[in-house]
């Protein structure tokens, strides 16, 4: 790895000052499980790593059934699925947090880091989009919010300015009769990069779909929010035919490439199958959550 300097700010304000001074030659580190690999590979040309793990707001989990969940950007995966209240309220988030990497990676990796890394295959981003998540960002001119579906702007590119830091992720409180799920296809049982993935959420109303959100991994330059798939089934009965409609739209929305992990045709097929299965699981979870 080339020479870097290392800063450990203890407040968001201090982090923003450090980032501003660095003039784009710095990156924030949460778990480091992607950043350190990328630095060794020469992906980023930077001089400074800013450790976010000493900033209180980046390391807190706050949940209550009225205001929802605020998840510090550097909270490690194991702390998320180890939090019983969060695990019960957001099973769709836990699906992703418990399958990113193995035990050791989950000891460090964070959903905030996964989001900022902004790879198309990031497992946590589709469920965060499906759960209507918002990114809380701090910069020299104060705070702003960005919907998670608008956060990734290209492969490894995100909406953060060079002097901004992702502080936390916010998810609205789950309403009654809602459910979510994330699943992916990988050729192995564990520890692999998604060939495709589907994160979905539904809200039911007397056996009908009231609202649905569908998002896909690994089939476009960014995680893909397929708004039309959810919109098309709102108001329809929660049955196989409705699920088929949304799954078909998801398949048609996918814009995958052929690479060593899979072909365009295979990935399009996966989008249909994964969206169907994820919606079925989310509907089952919604029925149990009343």
């Amino acid at each position: 790895m080339k020479w870097i300097d290392y800063a450990t700010p203890h407040s968001v304000r201090e982090a923003v000052d450090v980032l501003s001074e660095a003039g784009g030659r710095a990156r924030v580190m949460a778990g480091g499980t992607d950043l350190l690999v990328a630095l060794r590979a020469g992906v980023y040309d930077i001089d400074l790593v800013v450790d976010g793990k000493n900033i209180p707001e980046l390391n807190e989990i706050t949940y209550d059934p009225t205001n929802g969940l605020t998840l510090g950007a550097a909270v490690a995966c194991y702390k998320i699925y180890g939090n019983q209240a969060v695990a019960t309220a957001y099973p769709g988030l836990i699906d992703a947090a418990s399958l990113i990497g193995g035990t050791q990676i989950q000891g460090r990796a964070s959903l905030g880091g996964n989001l900022c890394n902004a790879t198309p295959s990031a497992d946590s981003i589709p469920p965060m989009i499906a759960l209507n998540g918002t990114a809380n960002i701090a910069g020299p001119n104060g705070n702003r919010q960005v919907a998670i579906e608008d956060f990734c702007t290209g492969v490894r590119q995100n909406a953060l300015g060079s002097d901004e830091i992702l502080v936390s992720l916010h998810f609205p409180a789950p309403v009654a009769n809602s459910g979510a799920n994330y699943i992916r296809f990988i050729p192995r049982n564990e520890m692999d990069i998604a060939v495709a993935g589907a994160g979905v959420s539904v809200v039911l109303d007397n056996g009908d779909i009231k609202e649905a959100r569908v998002s896909l991994a690994s089939v476009a330059p960014t995680p893909l929010f397929v708004q039309e798939a959810g919109d098309a089934i709102a108001g329809k009965p929660a049955n196989d035919e409705t699920v088929r409609i949304a799954s078909g739209i998801a398949r048609d929305a996918a814009r995958p490439i052929t690479d060593m992990r899979g072909t365009i045709e295979f990935r399009q097929h996966l989008c249909e199958v994964l969206t169907r299965r994820a919606l079925n699981t989310a509907i089952e979870r919604a029925k149990e959550n009343n």
Partner: protein, 159 residues
């Protein structure tokens, strides 16, 4: 050019201080600066688990931790597993069950297995395989490792 950083930490129950460059991983610091060479380097990108250590009660791959990050932390490496010259039951089990061949993955497997049995003294085979999915072994085919962990779990519960 940045200089070296002074880091104070606790490794295997003992206070340790060392100097490192900010770009050096904990793995490099353990092996090349502190001289604890029991922790092995395999892939150096977090896939193989050979460099697994415990940090503040949770296993991590030390190749993906910067040395400067461990200020004030508590680290356990493979050197901290045995009690003097008495092997830990997991180490004894790995020997008795022939759960190693070339041995380079073994320190990582033992540190990870100990962390599992510390929190879950009676894991199922599935739980063991799931927990150890971040540790790769190219020799044994894993079955002997899983049996060694199961055997150690029984012995540790009887003790």
């Amino acid at each position: 050019m940045p200089g070296k950083t002074y880091v104070q930490t606790n490794i295997n129950g003992e206070h340790v201080d060392f100097l490192c460059e900010p770009r050096q991983s904990l793995l490099e610091c353990l092996r090349d600066v502190i001289g604890l060479t029991g922790t092995k380097e395999g892939c150096n990108d977090g896939n193989c688990g050979a460099c697994t250590v415990e940090m503040d009660g949770r296993i991590v791959t030390s190749c993906l931790v910067l040395g400067v990050e461990v200020e004030g932390k508590e680290i356990t490496t493979i050197e901290g597993i045995a009690d003097g010259s008495t092997l830990h039951p997991i180490q004894q089990s790995f020997l008795e069950n022939a759960a190693l061949q070339c041995g380079i993955c073994t320190p990582g497997f033992i540190v990870a297995s100990k962390s599992l049995l510390d929190q879950n003294p009676d894991p199922t085979e599935h739980e063991i395989r799931f927990w150890l999915a971040n540790n790769l072994c190219r020799c044994t085919g894993y079955d002997k490792i899983i049996r060694a962990v199961q055997d150690a779990a029984v012995k540790m519960q009887e003790a």
